[in-house]
Symmetry: C2
DNA sequence: ACGACAAAGTCAAACGTTTATCACATTTAT
DNA sequence: ATAAATGTGATAAACGTTTGACTTTGTCGT
């Protein structure tokens, strides 16, 4: 069927060892042999069987990616960036969308282990300490607390919150609302609130905080409630926990006859290229996606190299404010 | 390090054969033995090594996905849907974004073959007949012609074009423009133009067609040219080749002082949930993503089962018109 | 022409499974 | 009691590769 090492060896008139040596370039070989072997490989369209290689001891070059979903453009962008950077390093990516489903995430985790992935990058927050604690795999998390032994790469949430607060104040808004998607964990995203407060308290502006479950996007009912709340309380500025939520809210407010930003200012979070392209008028806090991807990879690879160490990245990824240009 | 079959056997006090029998449930086994073995597996957190299994002859349960990029929400949505459906079937997905880079796509194709994927689903259009022709892997393409032996699953492009034309006429627009991203291949997406003409010629409305290269999204320069073209020629209705292009154009027109849809009507294509959420006012042609995913999977699996057959799905996936509700 | 030494090549075991074959012990049916 | 069915185990080959240990071949200085 498909050519294997021994077929190449036969065609080239050498032993399998020699062919393997050419491939892994190891041992001493004459240029003539090398050429012959390459010739034979080309002729047979030979591809080493990655499974056999990894069985035998070579690394699988697989990395697993676990994200809650791909609908949120931020996850898409981050996953895609990671995939591209890993490709450059010769690694392949297996994607797993947990869909906020604990059982599915558990199965995926097992599956990834069974497939000998060398490590996992995740931005999920489903499984309790248990599952992530007793896997032997190197894992790195983005902006989420999973377990004590799982390093977290995170952006500067406090600064993001601060910039958002500062922006809303600069528009003259006095009554502010912050939407959050707090899940009760100790994840770094909570710092957004702290930063937001830091900005606003300096000016003794009251802040209301409303929490959403994080099971996906806000439903239209959620949004309706929010709209009436905003109108009833004369809210003038809203800090949303991500761009999609911000835009959904904006659309709903406009439908309710409010003008954005004239009556109410909204600022989002994430600032992915696609959202900026589709909705250039939304002020937002931009996360550095390429930098996030490379720091995640860097930490993961360090962990793969020396497993079972505790390592925390010592720097937060910088965020920035995006304002529509008019 | 990690538990293997023989460890489980030792702990359960049975032979490896028995453990393997339990796992693959074949041969005759007493309930007592089965329980003992399961117990031992649980205790050791045993996971069969998928590479070893597949080496030995079991299928790898891997499917490769090749898409040009993940930025276009349509690709994201389709890839994600495929991933979820395959998960249900016990398959894992390796993603490959070719980034419209032929060399990268070639490498990915090799890599997927090396990793014993059982088949590939792609919506790319980079490599000429050559590469896709001489791979032994089952491949299915979405809406793109790749090679004679690669079956294409496609939506009803002609109908999509027709609906778009009909819609624009219904708004009273008389001077129409169709943007396309024709790459010179014989892909089914060309039928959109045919459908558009069918709708418009019935009413003897002239149509202009402008072509874009498909290397990613339109640049801002492209957009500027388009805007001046539209204004200069008094275009009243535009059919864009996808939603992102439509929205970019809309934003640019608004910036140029035109009102959408009052002065100019624009209709997009794809209608993914995320775009509808972010931009509910854009009329668009909706592709049935879940149906597309399942038909792709169905055809691929048929091909895996009986390789080297020519099979063409006999039905086009139905598209529908989405209109903003106000 | 000889031994030394490097270069080129071969052999066989190993990686973790699955599965066929054969052997044996126990249980059940006759 | 005998035959048949059932449960279990030991052994070994196979999947495609890598690699340590070993052997053969070639070159060179003397």
């Amino acid at each position: 069927m498909v050519a294997k090492l021994s077929d190449v060896a036969a065609l080239a008139g050498v032993s399998v060892t020699t062919v393997s040596r050419v491939i892994n370039n190891y041992g001493s070989l004459s240029q003539k042999t090398i050429n012959k072997v390459h010739e034979a490989m080309r002729e047979l369209h030979y591809q080493p069987n990655a499974m056999a290689r990894s069985l035998q001891g070579k690394s699988s070059q697989f990395i697993g990616l676990i994200f809650p979903n791909m609908e949120n453009p931020f996850f898409t962008a981050l996953a895609s960036e990671i995939e591209q950077q890993l490709f450059e390093l010769g690694y392949k990516v297996i994607i797993a969308t947990s869909a906020n489903n604990v059982e599915k995430e558990r199965q995926y985790l097992q599956m990834l282990a069974a497939n000998q992935v060398e490590g996992i990058i995740t931005s999920s927050h489903n499984l309790g300490i248990g599952e992530y604690q007793n896997t032997f795999l190197p894992i790195v998390s983005y902006d989420r607390y999973l377990a004590d032994n799982v390093p977290i790469v995170s952006e500067d949430n406090e600064q993001g919150g601060y910039l958002a607060g500062e922006y809303l104040l600069s528009t003259g808004a006095k009554r502010l609302l912050m939407l959050s998607d707090d899940d009760g964990s100790e994840s770094p995203t909570h710092q957004r609130y702290a930063g937001f407060l830091r900005a606003t308290q300096q000016n003794s502006i009251p802040v209301v905080r409303q929490n959403y479950s994080l099971q996906g996007f806000a439903t239209s009912k959620d949004i309706d409630n929010m709209v009436s709340y905003i109108i009833k309380n004369g809210i003038e500025g809203v800090f949303a926990y991500n761009d999609v939520a911000a835009i959904q809210l904006e659309n709903a407010l406009q439908k309710a006859g409010k003008r954005v930003p004239e009556d109410i200012n909204i600022i989002g979070y994430d600032g992915t290229p696609i959202v900026r392209r589709l909705h250039p008028n939304l002020p937002t806090i931009v996360q550095p996606i390429a930098a996030a991807a490379s720091q995640l990879i860097e930490v993961l690879f360090a962990l793969i190299k020396t497993p079972r160490t505790t390592m925390t990245p010592d720097s937060l990824l910088p965020v920035s404010l995006y304002l529509p240009k008019d």
